[in-house]
């Protein structure tokens, strides 16, 4: 920044013009290697694509509001649901989790930046380029008729539908290449987070004194390294098939379609945990703060998180009960999948035990987190139903499955993302988001969510499959689909009020101060927003809640923690 008091020697006009100042400001964001700025870039990028993916979902719901609707063509519908899924997983879920990790992990562990700041910037820009590249397909990828066409093969992109014979043009190439590119960025950032947490903790912060948020991000980053690799490998094999005459998946030449399904879900199922563990991480910080109690069973929470990560790499074939595996394989994956329920249950019980005996303040972040616990409970129970292979033979690829995973992705993850934004927005901007708009946002979103996704369970069990651009009028699905679409509309209104809150509070919000929520982790000891390099002096901690120790010197945590 130009310092007005000390003009640059030799410069005729030290005060930059308005335009030049703007340019310098933009430039500072492009070349930054600061973990907080990169974190904000990740989050803004993800929120932008959240709106794009949401708009795609809304178009899907308008198409399905009545049977045999002609709002969009079958071709466009298939592009919409493919792009909706791909966007929400790769351009929203992953970037936003890395955004929060980037912003918060160094602050929470008392570090002055990430371990590899330049790798950090590289990771973000690769991810950003991948997203833009994917969306460029709408105008650039010439499809069947020589015009722009987005990928339309489903976000799972099962072969041989993606082979040259069935997917001519370049839309499938855009899908594969965009994900390979953003995948490299993701790998870089995951390595960076692991390195930061292992080697950059401040004095006194042993692994078992780390905030659970940092623990979960360590687990997630490790899991990311395991999951992204098979996906990247499979996409490179797909491109070899498409352009270099490979036969990995070419069923006409003896290749295997089932191998792709294995590859995809060896990535795809751990990926679900890559997305949901950050939601747990957020809840692990917010629930104690607003219950005014330390997290219940910290060691059990750490063990459960690591346990979930381990079990999650052995459950992928529960997406494949209908593919025709042997009965023994089916039984194995039933058991491994059900076992995930045990550590997950431990987490839910610990959250409830943390709230038990507390003095719970239901500010907006806590409202979202409480709804998260409730919805995640239901998502877990429908997950148990789907793990029962014979029941999955009925429900697989039906709207019941759509309802189940949106309960996880929206009911758990998006609710926690909203909670996190309400909670840490004051730290990042120095302003508190409006509680009034926040309450509107919460209740509208809560009602819309349940109207949409509760109803989807029913229509799925009545035989409605996923990925269909329209349905028959006489199947008894029409009324339910109408209400599902109405719920989507209510959620859209809620997101608009949220967007308005983000903008309005940035300009006119209440000053936050260092510690608006009376919280206990290190980031709240810094000014809001924190200065470059975070801490003037390296902090020293003696317990999991350093700010609790400061606020209660006669009753500090380190006397009681085990």
């Amino acid at each position: 920044m130009a310092d007005q008091a000390f003009p640059i020697p030799g410069s005729l006009d030290a005060t930059p013009s308005h335009g030049a100042a703007l340019l310098e400001w933009l430039h500072s964001w492009v070349v930054t290697v600061d973990h907080k700025k990169l974190g904000i870039l990740y989050i803004v990028y993800a929120l932008f694509f959240l709106l794009v993916g949401g708009a795609e979902a809304l178009a899907i719901r308008i198409q399905l509001v009545i049977p045999n609707n002609h709002f969009v063509s079958p071709e466009l519908y298939n592009e919409l649901f493919t792009m909706h899924g791909t966007t929400m997983v790769f351009l929203v879920g992953m970037p936003i989790l890395f955004g929060f990790a980037n912003y918060l992990v160094p602050l929470m562990i008392g570090a002055r930046d990430m371990a590899f700041p330049r790798l950090n910037a590289f990771g973000f820009w690769m991810t950003a380029f991948g997203g833009l590249f994917l969306y460029f397909s709408f105008i650039g990828g010439f499809g069947l008729y020589g015009m722009g066409s987005a990928p339309d093969v489903g976000w799972f992109a099962y072969v041989p539908l993606t082979a040259q014979a069935f997917s001519p043009g370049h839309n499938t190439d855009y899908w594969a290449l965009a994900l390979i590119v953003s995948g490299f960025g993701t790998l870089g950032t995951a390595i960076n987070i692991v390195a930061t947490i292992i080697s950059m903790r401040c004095r006194g912060m042993t692994l078992l004194r780390m905030p659970l948020f940092a623990w979960l991000m360590l687990v997630v980053s490790g899991l990311t390294l395991i999951t992204i690799t098979p996906l990247t490998a499979a996409q490179i094999m797909l491109l070899i098939d498409r352009y270099l005459g490979g036969h990995f998946f070419d069923t006409q030449a003896g290749g295997s379609a089932v191998v792709w399904i294995h590859f995809f879900w060896i990535f795809g199922h751990p990926e679900v945990y890559v997305l949901v563990l950050p939601a747990f991480a957020i809840a692990n910080e917010i629930i104690p703060t607003f219950s005014r109690k330390a997290i219940f069973g910290y060691p059990a929470m750490v063990a459960a998180s690591v346990g979930i990560a381990f079990v999650s790499v052995s459950v992928w074939a529960h997406h494949m009960f209908t593919v025709g595996m042997t009965s023994v394989s089916n039984a194995f994956f039933v058991l491994s999948t059900m076992m995930v329920g045990i550590p997950t249950g431990i987490k839910i019980f610990n959250w409830i035990a943390t709230m038990w005996g507390g003095k719970i303040r239901f500010a907006t972040p806590m409202l979202f987190c409480t709804a998260f616990v409730f919805q995640f409970l239901i998502a877990g129970l429908t997950g148990i139903m789907l793990s029962v292979a014979p029941l999955d033979w009925q429900l697989h690829n039906s709207y019941f499955v759509i309802a189940h995973f949106h309960y996880v992705l929206v009911g758990a993850i998006v609710f926690c993302i909203f909670a996190a934004i309400y909670y840490w927005y004051p730290k990042a901007t120095g302003r508190v988001l409006s509680e009034k708009l926040g309450k509107w946002h919460f209740w509208l979103f809560f009602i819309g969510f349940h109207l949409t996704f509760d109803t989807m369970h029913f229509v799925g069990s009545l035989g409605m499959p996923r990925s269909i651009y329209t349905y028959e009028a006489d199947r008894g699905w029409s009324v339910l689909n109408f209400w599902i679409s109405m719920g989507g509309l209510i959620q859209a209104i809620a997101v608009l009020s949220f967007t308005w809150n983000l903008i309005d509070s940035y300009l006119h919000g209440k000053e936050a101060g260092n510690d608006p929520w009376d919280a206990w982790t290190l980031e709240w000891s810094t000014p809001s927003p924190p200065p470059a390099y975070n801490f003037a002096e390296d902090p020293v901690v003696r317990s999991r809640r350093p700010l609790w120790d400061l606020k209660h010197p006669q009753d500090p945590d380190w006397k009681y923690e085990r």
């Binding site: 069935f166 006409q252 593919v323 045990i342 249950g345 148990i384 009545l462 035989g463 269909i468």
Partner: protein
């Protein structure tokens, strides 16, 4: 045994065949357990929200800090483990009962081939080939007559799902699969493709006609005959055999031996065309031949570029194929 017959809504709650019924019974058990868990944990959460929300009076005081309890953690680890054991054993029993049921000698074999975007049904023992509408005999406890479906694909992945008759099984190229049904009430059962297979995945519908043994015999006898050779529609037949139609469609007993599209030998025995996308009426046939995209955009049959008179003659010919 099952009171409900075929329904307009293809619900998994109205099973009409042993696999569907086994799954239905299992699902009730699973709902009972998950429902009980929901009641207990959801009840605890509701209690905590109501009982422990902050009140005006306790401003300024922090509640007692409790860091955890090994005994409690053990309890809520062991109880879920026991539940998992019970659920797993129950599930495994049903998996083996359905998936590994030995095929009786009397069973009817049908080969199902998935195509973009229609179903081919072949009855190897009976020498029948048809499309989109599957006929099977009813199976009763006194006279069990199950049907075993061998599932193949000619192009991409599909999935055969008729919820009232059983769970779905995928049709994957190079990966033959099998499933079985034994429908116990006659009538028409509806389903559709359940694995995204391309542009017209939504209009790849399945109709399963469950016939009495007599009806099934009559139907099978008719399907085994070659196509009718009615002189009054010779003009239409001539067009069919000289234009591109015969490259993709078969009409038994004529030179039309294409296999890319549905077998049309007994087209008039079917209630629908285009895999259930439209009723089988002369008007719809006409519209379909003129331009399939009007009924089913993305269908692989091209618009045939015939004159109005030629289309009328072809429709007349097709209408004679009973």
């Amino acid at each position: 045994m099952f009171a409900q017959g075929p329904q307009a809504t293809p619900s998994i709650w109205a099973p009409a065949s042993t696999p569907a019924h086994e799954i239905y019974g299992l699902s009730l058990f699973v709902f009972l357990i998950t429902g009980a868990i929901f009641a207990v944990v959801g009840g605890l959460l509701a209690f905590v929200i109501i009982k422990f929300h902050a009140r005006e009076s306790d401003a300024g005081h922090e509640p007692a800090q409790i860091y955890g309890s090994v005994q409690v953690e053990l309890a809520w680890t062991v109880i879920p483990v026991l539940i998992v054991v019970v659920l797993f054993l129950t599930t495994a029993r049903i998996i083996f009962a359905i998936q590994d049921a030995p095929e009786p000698k009397s069973a009817l074999d049908v080969i199902v081939v998935g195509h973009q975007f229609w179903w081919e049904f072949r009855y190897p023992k009976l020498g029948i080939v048809t499309a989109n509408e599957l006929h099977v005999p009813v199976s009763t406890s006194s006279n069990p007559d199950p049907t075993y479906l061998k599932l193949l694909s000619a192009d991409v992945d599909h999935s055969f799902w008729v919820p009232q008759l059983g769970g779905k099984t995928d049709l994957i190229p190079n990966h033959p699969n099998q499933m079985w049904i034994d429908p116990q009430a006659t009538g028409l059962y509806l389903g559709q493709c359940a694995q995204f297979c391309g542009m017209e995945h939504a209009k790849m519908l399945i109709r399963v006609y469950v016939d009495t043994p007599r009806q099934f015999d009559v139907w099978a006898k008719n399907q085994q005959r070659p196509g009718t050779q009615d002189a009054s529609v010779a003009a239409g037949r001539h067009i069919f055999e000289t234009e591109a139609c015969m490259s993709c469609h078969t009409i038994a007993g004529t030179v039309a031996k294409g296999t890319f599209g549905p077998d049309l030998t007994h087209l008039m025995s079917r209630a629908t065309i285009a895999a259930g996308a439209a009723a089988n009426t002369p008007q719809n046939l006409r519209a379909w031949i003129q331009d399939p995209n009007v009924i089913k955009p993305g269908a692989l049959m091209p618009a045939m570029q015939l004159s109005d008179r030629q289309i009328d003659e072809v429709v007349a010919y097709l209408s004679s194929l009973h």
